[in-house]
Symmetry: C2
Subunit: 406 residues, 2 copies
């Protein structure tokens, strides 16, 4: 029988009614004749609530214990969903990450999947059961509980789909798919039917929170076709897959924005070889993901280096920079919150040099000041003042005629 992996996010299992809706949906797919593995996230705000409790105790919860704590949310969801499926007459069994043996490295709170042991899942599928697997969590080979980082349940689903050779990996969420921009900000935004992995990757990394970035990388590497769709509707959503047909390439696919951005600037950095390596390897050692990096031109043998990180990583990044700054004899460290990022993404951009200029023009026309710029093959990102982010997104969306997309 063909195997389908479905993943349901936390808001889809936040209440008993929602959980029962998910159970009916899973049961319907099962009854249509598929083997099923269902991955679930922690209900609603449970993980955030647990983290808040940890922070009542200590500013810097040890990562290993934080994983021990955070892993419980998904365990609640799988037990309840398995009960709901059994209440509908469907044989089902819940399995934790350690029970499946989703093996990871030991970088707590941001672990990487090394290997998935398919034996237990295969056994349960062979018994005719729907297998409900806890997302977000895994285990090191020596039985330590790990978690995969924010949005890690997407990664669990993709990795399981790949390991099990699933015909389909469906990511259920509160929104109907991936849009040309956030419809809460741009009412004219349209749902995209189909996206390439690279486009999805750039959109995810630049603020479209519909899929976790690492899960898209994983899907791209292992060729897992994703279908992002709504828990609450039967409408097809957005398919993410390898896109090779040249004519379908769009100049600009969508406009994304991200308000979880903090900017850190190290001033007066000596402009000698190896300095950037010192700075960014110090951040990497602390497992801080750096997004945009901008270095000003050198003046008098000194330059400023700015980069962006998530707000959560900003205190540790600032502290790291103060240490590194002292060692290398740099000037003051400036930390700026109050900023946000607006990006355009599109596979056709690489061969069209005017695209970035058009974006800057749209922002200028809307009176939005650009603080940092970063470009890649298929993306242009600008850091702008947080208070201007809505008008920035709308102006850029309009400038690329995305309002007219059908």
């Amino acid at each position: 029988m063909a195997l389908i992996v479905q993943k349901y996010g936390g808001s889809s299992v936040a209440t008993t009614e929602k959980l029962q809706h998910v159970a009916r949906r899973v049961a319907a797919t099962r009854r249509a004749g598929a083997d099923m593995v269902v991955v679930v996230s922690a209900p609603g705000d449970m993980t955030d609530d647990l983290i808040a409790r940890a922070r009542e105790i200590t500013d810097r919860p040890p990562a290993r214990e934080l994983d021990m704590l955070m892993a419980v949310g998904e365990q609640v969801s799988i037990a309840l969903l398995s009960m709901a499926l059994q209440a509908l007459g469907e044989p089902a069994i819940s399995l934790t990450g350690p029970q499946v043996r989703i093996l990871t490295d030991s970088v707590h709170t941001k672990a990487r999947i090394l290997e998935i042991d398919r034996r237990r899942i295969d056994e349960e599928l062979a018994r005719g059961r729907i297998v409900v697997v806890a997302g977000f969590q895994g285990t090191t080979p020596d039985h330590e509980i790990t978690t995969l980082g924010r949005g890690g349940s997407d990664l669990s689903a993709v990795a399981l789909a790949s390991a099990l050779g699933a015909v389909s990996c469906e990511i259920y969420t509160d929104v109907p798919g991936v849009f040309t921009a956030d419809p809460r900000i741009v009412p004219e935004a349209h749902k995209l039917d189909r996206l390439s992995y690279d486009e999805m990757l750039e959109m995810a990394s630049s603020g479209a929170v519909v899929l976790q970035t690492r899960s898209v990388e994983y899907a791209k590497t292992y060729g897992v076709r994703l279908h992002v769709r709504s828990t609450w509707s039967e409408e097809p959503g957005t398919v993410v897959e390898e896109v090779t047909d040249v004519e379908r390439v769009r100049l600009v696919t969508g406009v994304t924005h991200d308000t979880d951005v903090a900017r850190i600037t190290i001033t007066n950095v000596p402009d000698i070889p190896g300095i950037a390596h010192r700075i960014f390897s110090a951040l990497a050692e602390r497992h801080i993901n750096v997004d945009m990096i901008v270095q000003t031109a050198s003046r008098g043998g000194r330059a400023d280096i700015s980069f962006t990180v998530t707000k959560a990583d900003a205190p540790l990044a600032g502290e790291t920079m103060r240490e590194v700054g002292r060692e290398i004899g740099a000037g003051a460290i400036e930390a700026g919150e109050g900023v946000a990022k607006v990006s355009i993404v599109g596979a056709g951009m690489a061969s069209n040099p005017g695209v970035a200029a058009k974006m800057f023009g749209a922002l200028a026309g809307a009176g939005v000041n650009i603080q940092m710029i970063s470009t890649s093959e298929i993306k242009v990102s600008c850091v702008v003042p947080l208070e201007d982010i809505q008008k920035a997104v709308r102006a850029v969306h309009r400038a690329f005629n995305l309002d007219a997309l059908g």
Copy 2:
């Protein structure tokens, strides 16, 4: 270094402040020079809240999934307590039941401990860490998560103390120890300094909720000395151990009561050999613990059999009796709630035949009607109307001069 096992109940870790108090208490014992294993229960009402969520989904949650769900509460407590200890500068590590390898049979929700693997705990102790272990939970040899039944964290602590050869097993709770009666009902009740395992066993099984019955059985079998005491005070509590000095034997040690009682009566049971075996083996197969059993004298070859179970087990027990009743040709099944049990416990009772009569007299004098009677070597229990339980306890406590005990 001498090893101490401490167990803290759910109310001791219900809030961040309480948890931090527990951490300071553990740290103080550690700093006084002991190796420490700390067992914790789920915070406050978390387990009950989780069960309530399961019951929103289904009247009869499957036991395996209920264990998956209920095990999370203790995991929250161990992670937070380990964080709180580390925040005080004490090296600590949390371990789940499966991580320790507390191996149990596979009777979900009421599993029995088969064996405890001490290797992981020994490794962590050798690294100088306080080991914080999740109570209540274990694992079958094939990695299924199990729980040990109500109050199972007491059993976890006793079993760990035995497996690790601890010099002391301290059970921390909200009350200062074991009393001659519930002080909320009998203000004159006194704390007992010392109790035998058998007395504690009878008191626990007849309603003194300070210790789980099975944990006392286990302590008796393996000779683990228990110290039941308050989390909130430095005062010594009640020691439970083998008592052999004959002169210390009390006629009546305490009066207990239990309101979690339901009575089930099968009427008109054919009075032929093997019938009682049929009835009670059917209940045992469904893992229903029967407490008191009373059979009336036969009239015309027929008798009535009454027994008591917990309120939670009453629906399943009633259903089982309807099945068995049909098979054996019995009469109606009567299920009575609205009852409670009052008991006296004392090691000296066995050789003093007037004790039961004195109890019945005290109840009669208080106008309390006795519905069922059951006696053992060191206990007499009476089922009485629920609304009379307080005056029953007070009358019996007074009749045995327990008010005067110091």
